[in-house]
Symmetry: C2
DNA sequence: TAAAAATATGTAAACGTTTGCATGAAGTAA
DNA sequence: TTACTTCATGCAAACGTTTACATATTTTTA
């Protein structure tokens, strides 16, 4: 069935020249005469020649493929990062392989190894963070394959990172709640071994301290932050001794679950309960009420990450980069107790 | 900087044997003694050996990589298809390269060519449909690279397809609206050169005919079905001579835009206006009111598509497959005018 | 005990490129 | 004319595997 693809050698034969000349002509090597270059290119088009990247990469040792690893592609945040990466990568002639880990560390390890096997030129990863010392990463480092952590970065200083100032974002969000008059603010904190969640919690604490609001550890819930978990986790805070008047969730999804529960209980948002989420997922603007959240400039993160990666690929002795973007608070109805001032759609 | 990776040849030297033996041992060839096999595997692990897939694929001519092309990854429908594909693909030892076209035909062409250059074993694609005769696909066919169209399939009979019965889905959705007592049903139809949108329109017409509801062409709007477009497109039908009492949208996103507008105008859903969307995007269950929509079993589509692909890769003289799944109507509040009977969450 | 069969390993070519070096032709300077 | 450049192309090895075929060793059979 499979017809063999046409090769450089066949083109060469047909033109009574050699593979090396054809190869050089196709890549626009300047030491090939204009006449020969045109002849080769014309025939290549006529014969539907496509380069065999396997052979090309194998010989040249450089692969024009980037690996992207994310927990899952169907989060707006990640798919926007991916768009940001591909945008820049495509311009530089790179293709990308996308892997999903579903937040499983084992899959992350496997993905990295698989990308190494595929000879990627660089790896862009957003996931289990503290794994920068796991065997797969050590191997990537040993082989000189640059690894760029984006969003969820390792604490390790000697790594390339593009992150958002999560601490600042959380601080802004909580400060906003406090300014709106909320006092007992629940915090849905993610797993604390992941740096972003740790930073968000710190930002939460910082805002409370600054406004002299006593810190109540009972208000801090550490959980994996899914919609369903949010739905359950908010319950203890809706009445009884632990009753709170606001929620700052480190994830929009968990906040969503909470909102569903709160509405079911007939509690009013934002009057009785203010809500601030994190990530500016698409749904936050369309639910009822629209949710205040923190935008992380996901696409820009992708842009910067791939730029850093391409630089690291080029440079001989690359220096580790640490790029920090400032997030933006997007205020919507879910946290606007005071008379309405600004609403960003 | 880059340290060269360890090769099969170096393993061979260290064991005083040859590359061929090592190669066979690593792949568990049965003609290698157990003793040798163990020795090789132990050393490979010790030295962090990873196979070089470029070399391997180049030599063997088979690549264990699949190409996936979708309009965009951040649609629940597509990301679920992708999960469905990867699930099965990973089990069979395949990696996948994901490309986004953003609904641009040129990007689709480029993606296909790029996948061919990357020597993928097969291509799974959901996009501009009628391009099955474009140069890139002809080339893929010529090279014997199986192409599986999923969801958005070409009309061309001689192609592999995994689709949902869009006609049936639309029919069920519209029938449901009629049974609820709605009479003037607007249809947001997508671009009609895309088969799925054409089928959905046919399903809409079929239901009307069956219930003897006169077909009013003014109620059919053909547009690219984004949220913003839906927001604008519903306007003419909310008052005046064209006033309608229901919307069947071929896309959840356009329906969402319409809902936002309808609520802004103070019109009640579902009492004054019933809504049915298409695709069961995640947000349809959480907006207010929850939207009735049609689930396409996206993950299953992915499963079937990759199965068909793997079969086509194996077989010598593959037969074209045409798999059709039945969609499921998910009834929620947006279309329940009559006293509530069933609500699927 | 010789021959045949089975088992384990080695040899060398091949996959389609790229690239350092060599070669030949044409042009320029002395 | 000779020698030195410059320009365009060819030669051949290399990238890291896989694999058909050959060889060497052991076991079985007559």
């Amino acid at each position: 069935m499979a017809i063999k693809r046409i090769t450089i050698t066949e083109l060469a034969k047909e033109l009574n020249t050699t593979p090396s000349t054809v190869s050089r002509a196709l890549r626009g090597h300047e030491c090939i005469s204009r006449e020969m270059r045109d002849k080769v290119n014309d025939l290549a088009i006529k014969r539907n020649y496509t380069v065999n990247r396997l052979a090309s990469s194998l010989r040249s040792g450089s692969s024009k493929t980037l690996g992207i690893i994310v927990p899952r592609v169907n989060r707006d945040f990640f798919s926007n990062c991916i768009s940001g990466i591909e945008e820049v990568a495509a311009k530089a002639g790179y293709t990308s392989i996308i892997c999903q880990t579903h937040d499983e560390q084992e899959k992350e390890e496997k993905s990295v190894l698989s990308l190494i096997e595929s000879n990627v030129a660089g790896i862009l990863i957003s996931t289990w963070s503290d794994s920068s010392q796991s065997p797969a990463f050590i191997e990537a480092n040993r082989l000189g394959i640059p690894v760029i952590f984006f969003d969820r970065a390792t604490k390790d200083i000697n790594q390339n990172k593009v992150v958002v100032d999560d601490n600042l974002g959380a601080y802004e969000g909580v400060k906003h709640l406090i300014e709106q008059g909320y006092k007992r603010i629940v915090h849905f904190a993610g797993p604390q071994h992941i740096k972003i969640y740790n930073d968000r919690k710190e930002g939460y604490l910082k805002a409370l301290r600054e406004f002299n609001i006593p810190i109540d550890k009972n208000l801090i819930v550490e959980n994996p932050l899914s919609k369903d978990i949010g739905y359950d986790a908010i319950l203890p805070f809706l009445k009884g001794p632990k009753k709170a008047d606001a929620l700052f969730s480190a994830s929009d999804y968990a906040a969503l679950g909470a909102i569903i529960r709160i509405k079911e209980m007939g509690i009013s948002i934002p009057d009785e309960m203010g809500i601030v989420g994190f990530s500016n997922e698409m749904f936050t603007s369309i639910i009822d009420p629209p949710m205040t959240t923190i935008d992380q400039h996901s696409k820009r993160i992708g842009n910067y990450a791939v730029q850093a990666c391409l630089e690291a690929i080029k440079e001989e002795n690359p220096v580790f980069k640490n790029i920090v973007l400032s997030p933006t608070l997007i205020i919507r109805e879910s946290s606007l107790k005071k008379p309405l001032r600004i609403i960003n759609k």
